[in-house]
């Protein structure tokens, strides 16, 4: 532009529509794109770098989990729930077990509740650690923070493996309790991990929390207001970053969450930075819960002795059970017709519903900001597409 003097502009005959304005560019981002956290696709309409329109396209990982579950016994669906949000298999198991327990009225022994809280909060820790690693990776902090986060996550996965036999596909909960009790030495190891975790958090915070580049990029990006968040059904850290005080651990007090004292961090602006901070703060609260649970865990049976695993037939009826999964409200809606398989089995996937406002969050931002907005939502495509 600067080379064109005023005179030359006059002499060059410009066509009616402004060429420098350019056309809108339509591109497809994904489905195989390193920053979409899986096979997720967005159709973008761009004005230069700026997003004018964005339409998410789902379904690349769709396997109709709900239909499969209608052909499985109640127990048979448990390992499939591991594969929904494959980062947090234990909380998926928990939500499903909770829904079935509601449906059939199964009591859960005390020790099992503690085991659930301990494994569930460890799941939240490793999910959030992984997520902030990925988020920083998306921002261009290539590798380093992600590796640090994964190093810590690995320690928790080792605990899962020692307890359940698998690092990610734990398949740990059963209706009325947990599959197995803690092996010898597990608690000591877990206590050690929990004690050392704050050091990692401190390091992690000093690494990037006050980094000027990070603040510049994340503050004011992808804003969701409180009203929007409620109306769009956002849940979990996404909603709380927008100031919605709704944590199912406090609201429903499912299991034994009323016994622990912990705080619910709330954001103010609802931007990417708040969502990033939300995860950091939630990890600290999870550690508090873990300490209390590990201190108080009683001895006793780890599952309800009267619940059969085979030939399990709840009587006709329906139930909706939900928990505060690391990504938000994970619910299972089950209808039983009295048979061995559920008549209807529905997963309320937090990852999918948190994407409702994706377009609105991205409009007006640059393409590179879409990546961090998407990263801050925390989606796992196994759960989005089911």
């Amino acid at each position: 532009m600067s080379v064109l003097t005023e005179a030359s502009v006059d002499t060059v005959s410009m066509p009616a529509d402004d060429h420098l304005q350019g056309d809108l560019l339509e591109i497809s981002m994904g489905p195989v794109h390193p920053s979409t956290h899986g096979v997720f696709r967005m159709n973008l309409l761009l004005d230069g770098e700026r997003v004018v329109k964005l339409k998410p396209v789902f379904g690349y990982l769709h396997r109709n989990h709900e239909k499969i579950a209608e052909h499985e016994t109640y127990l048979g669906s448990m390992p499939y729930t591991d594969r929904l949000d494959y980062i947090c298999s234990i909380t998926n198991n928990w939500a499903y077990a909770l829904a079935v327990e509601k449906l059939a009225g199964i009591p859960v022994p005390e020790r099992a509740e503690y085991l659930r809280v301990i494994t569930g909060e460890l799941t939240r820790l490793q999910n959030h650690a992984g997520l902030i690693g990925f988020l920083l990776q998306d921002m261009g902090a290539s590798g380093t923070p992600l590796m640090y986060a994964f190093r810590e996550r690995e320690k928790i996965l080792d605990l899962f493996e020692a307890l359940t036999g698998a690092r990610m596909m734990c398949n740990y909960m059963r209706f009325g309790g947990c599959r197995c009790d803690l092996p010898a030495g597990w608690m000591e190891q877990a206590k050690k991990v929990v004690d050392e975790f704050p050091r990692f958090l401190d390091e992690f915070e000093s690494l990037l929390r006050t980094n000027e580049i990070l603040m510049e990029r994340t503050q004011g990006t992808g804003i969701v207001t409180r009203e929007q968040a409620i109306n769009a059904g956002l849940s979990g850290p996404m909603a709380r970053a927008s100031g919605v005080n709704y944590d199912l651990r406090k609201v429903d007090k499912y299991g034994i969450y009323d016994r622990f004292s912990f705080r619910v961090p709330l954001g103010e602006h609802g931007d990417v930075y708040d969502r990033f901070m939300m995860r950091l703060l939630e990890m600290r609260e999870s550690l508090e819960i873990l300490k209390q649970a590990m201190r108080d865990i009683p001895s006793g049976p780890h599952k309800d002795p009267n619940t059969k695993i085979r030939n399990f037939r709840p009587k006709a009826g329906e139930a909706y059970g939900r928990i505060e999964a690391p990504k938000g409200e994970l619910g299972f809606y089950l209808i039983s017709d009295g048979g061995p398989n559920p008549y209807r089995y529905r997963v309320r996937p937090p990852s999918l519903i948190n994407l409702t406002l994706l377009e609105q969050m991205c409009i007006g931002h640059n393409v590179s900001d879409i990546v961090i907005i998407l990263g801050s939502i925390d989606i796992v495509l196994g759960e989005v597409d089911r």
Partner: protein, 217 residues
């Protein structure tokens, strides 16, 4: 939260709507409220803005398929035929189902109550499958109603962007319906013994193409 109270609240404020409480036999005790589809949208906006508590958070939206189910029960009745009392067996046929149902799970954020289970039913499963969309009331229903449209075939009137969500655009059927049969040209991963392998072999034999499984064996 009492479902009866909410029902009478709605009835007082939304004139002309017909509500029905459906009881739930399971220990969860989550009974639901069946709303007629003509007043679905007004009832929903009343629940969000006017009711107490206000149900501002619509958590879960899903569909249920209830195909026509005929059950026949035999009943013995005494009849007097020509002055002689005799026992006659009568077969009573009852037909249930033959509709698609959409279920909304509502919660109240401030009052921390819920779930309020709202249901709406279509007239049948073939062409009268229109229901009002509640997306204008709760945005959270947007993607979930699309999913119900995709997998069950309920058409939501008033939805801003009703397209398939999970299946591809030119896919024809609705996979979550109970009578859905998957097409046999589906790309199965053949396993060693099950009927999937046989179906796949039959499919390729009919086409005259070499069976993929034979090649891999």
């Amino acid at each position: 939260m009492n479902l009866e109270e909410i029902k009478s609240q709605i009835e007082a404020n939304v004139p002309g709507c017909s509500l029905q409480i459906l009881l739930n036999g399971s220990p969860s005790g989550q009974h639901s409220l069946l709303v007629d589809k003509e007043h679905g949208l007004t009832v929903a906006s009343y629940l969000r803005d006017g009711a107490s508590p206000k149900f501002d958070y619509c958590s879960n939206v899903t569909g249920v398929d209830w195909p026509l189910k005929e059950t026949s029960t035999k009943q013995k009745t005494k009849k007097i035929v020509d002055g002689v009392e005799s026992e006659v067996e009568e077969v009573i046929k009852t037909a249930t189902g033959n509709y698609l149902e959409v279920v909304y799970h509502l919660f109240s954020m401030d009052a921390r109550q819920g779930p309020l289970v709202l249901r709406m039913r279509t007239e049948d499963r073939v062409d009268q499958v229109h229901l009002p969309s509640l997306t204008p009331v709760w945005r959270s229903a947007e993607l979930q109603e699309r999913e119900v449209y995709d997998l069950f075939g309920v058409v939501f009137d008033g939805h801003p962007d009703l397209r398939r969500l999970l299946m591809w655009d030119d896919f024809k059927d609705h996979p979550m319906r109970k009578d859905y049969v998957d097409p046999d040209d589906y790309e199965y991963e053949p396993t060693a013994h099950d009927e999937v392998l046989k179906r796949m072999q039959a499919h390729y034999a009919a086409q005259g193409a070499p069976s993929a499984s034979e090649e891999t064996r």
